[in-house]
């Protein structure tokens, strides 16, 4: 009982630590670069973080449930290219978009079926999907980028409402919705429960298979959404899109305080983690720091975050 009691205030502390870190980064870069603290730059950053952010939502849930999905980048590309090919065949852009979403959902269902139903290792299954889907993408579009979508479609990734990018608004709404689900519904209790002790949840008469299946379906769907927003932002669906995006997503989730073995974590933490990595990268870009050093700094930050968690949580 006392363990529980002491855990909660610490959990709150962790979020404050992360927000302080974010604030330090923002203040630091504001002093270092005159271009950092501007509305255009902030909107720019928001615009760039949407794809990683969308995938981070189900990723946080999956990691909380004690699993992992490494296939998200390939699902993203697969959905984007499916949509592109459908549009090229003369199908209406909005229907093509739905085809893209269904493609992502299907990939997520395959992941979920193998992992939940057949109890295969999530990491192994999703690595398999990562490689296979990337290959399929090249088969479908033969490696050439697809472009020439109608202007109405670019609304999602390139337009602003007032001075806020449309896709950023969508991301924030999604985060609020998901956060509500993870705070107020029974579903979230099951997810945390599976992450803490899967057996107990099963013996309580709850279908672990169904929960896991839903989680991977969600991951597929959100990866597809990210793919569509990416195509809309870049005006081109290409075979290489989303490569290594899973690293960014998982980094954001972990910096946000989600425990890699599951059971603990929050979407608000992930959101802050996300802001930390995008602002860090943007600030370093503005300063003209070579990407090679950027990778070193990001890796060091991750180590710091994980180290910090051990200090706090265990």
């Amino acid at each position: 009982m006392s363990a529980w009691a002491s855990r909660f205030p610490l959990k709150g502390n962790k979020l404050i630590v992360q927000m302080l870190l974010l604030l330090v980064i923002i203040v630091l870069f504001s002093f270092l670069s005159p271009y950092f603290l501007t509305v255009t730059n902030f909107m720019n950053v928001l615009n760039q973080m949407v794809e990683v952010g969308l995938i981070a939502i189900p990723m946080t849930m999956i990691i909380i449930s004690g699993a992992m999905d490494l296939s998200v980048g390939s699902i993203l590309a697969f959905s984007a290219v499916c949509m592109g090919v459908a549009y090229e065949r003369g199908i209406d852009i909005w229907i093509s978009m739905i085809i893209g979403l269904l493609a992502g959902l299907l990939c997520g269902a395959v992941n979920g079926y193998l992992i939940a139903r057949h109890r295969m290792q999530a990491i192994v299954v999703t690595i398999g999907m990562l490689v296979m889907l990337r290959g399929l993408v090249y088969v479908i579009n033969q490696g050439r980028p697809i472009s020439g979508f109608p202007d109405a479609f670019y609304f999602m990734g390139q337009q602003y409402i007032g001075f806020i990018p449309v896709n950023a608004i969508f991301l924030v709404v999604m985060f609020l919705l998901a956060s509500f689900v993870m705070k107020k519904t029974r579903f979230s209790t099951y997810v945390y429960g599976i992450g803490n002790n899967e057996e107990v949840v099963r013996y309580s008469g709850i279908s672990v298979v169904r929960i896991r299946f839903i989680l991977f379906m969600l991951s597929g769907l959100f990866s597809a959404l990210a793919g569509i927003f990416l195509v809309s932002r870049l005006a081109s669906a290409e075979a290489t899109s989303g490569t290594n995006i899973e690293l960014d997503v998982i980094t954001a989730t972990l910096i946000g305080g989600t425990h890699i073995f599951g059971g603990r974590g929050s979407l608000s933490g992930t959101f802050v983690g996300l802001l930390i990595i995008v602002f860090l990268r943007n600030g370093l870009n503005l300063l003209g720091v070579s990407v090679l050093y950027q990778a070193v700094i990001l890796g060091a930050l991750l180590l710091l975050a994980v180290g910090n968690k051990k200090f706090n949580g265990e």
Binding site: G12, L37, V39, S179, S268, F271, S290
Partner: protein, 343 residues
Amino acid sequence: MKKLALTLLTGVLALNLAACGSTSGNQTDNGGKPNQGASGSRTYFMNPKSIGPAYWAAAEKGAKKAAADLKVEVLFNAPTEADSSKQINMIQDMLTRKVSGIGVSPNDAKAVGPVFKKAKGQGVNIVTWDSDAPDTERQYYVAPATDQEVGELLAKTIGEEIGGKGQVAFMVAGLGSQNQIAKSDAAKAYFAANYPDIEVVTTVASDDDQQKAYANAQNLLQTYPDLKGIIGFAGGEPPAAAEVVEQAVKAGTLEKNQVAITGIAVPSVVKNYIKNGTIKTDIIWDPGKLAYVTVYIMDQLAQGKEIKDGMEIPNIGTVKVDGQSVFIGTLEVTNENVDSFDF
């Protein structure tokens, strides 16, 4: 929910800060504008396809040299992998930094369209180099030579070496890559017009995979015993062909100089094959020079100067300007000059 509210509150506060920052940013911007014309205050962003390969490292040297010569600042940066969306994020970040010009070697010619449009709206000049993005708002494209010229030059070289008769095979990096198609088509057309007795037996693609290029070359020698020449249209092909031919000569299955090789390759990679006489002539351009000229062109544009055909660039020489394209010319690497290249 409380935590989330707190997060959002911080976000809003940050935005408020940003809003304050932007006004002061604008002021400094206005104050800084008159200085923009003076030398030393101009900054350019040079954006290759990726960071890592030796080719881009050589380009970076040239860009830095241009920065020193022209007394401007040049930032040379790109993602570690040739990824279009990361490249575009980087260009967007540099647009907020208000650089005077951006030199891009686009990973995806179509995807850079919107960001180039945005750059033009902000009055930032975009110059593509090494790889072009036609149908975008880019101002100029800096290249070694047209694909047609390079293709014809390669065909002419091999035609002379084998005496205008016999079987020739093409090795390309990718069958779908526009610059490879254009070069090999030009070479074929050149053969048809000038060496009707030369037969192009096949075109094999390595997909930029060195091991596959090597296997392709081995298969060529097996399948076509009468093969006279090989043209490698991308950096990895000529060394693969030369290595396989040298091994076959050593094993006694092929006579020396039975198969002539030419192609596009960095001198340092084919140095030994040229010294051994396996490759007589290799075509290349200097990536450093390419980057140097790109920075120079951006600097001219930023100062509102005109880009003219045959214009003289200090330390480089004259360049050919055709419409929106700037050509720096190719180099022929032979046994006589192979030691003089530093890339």
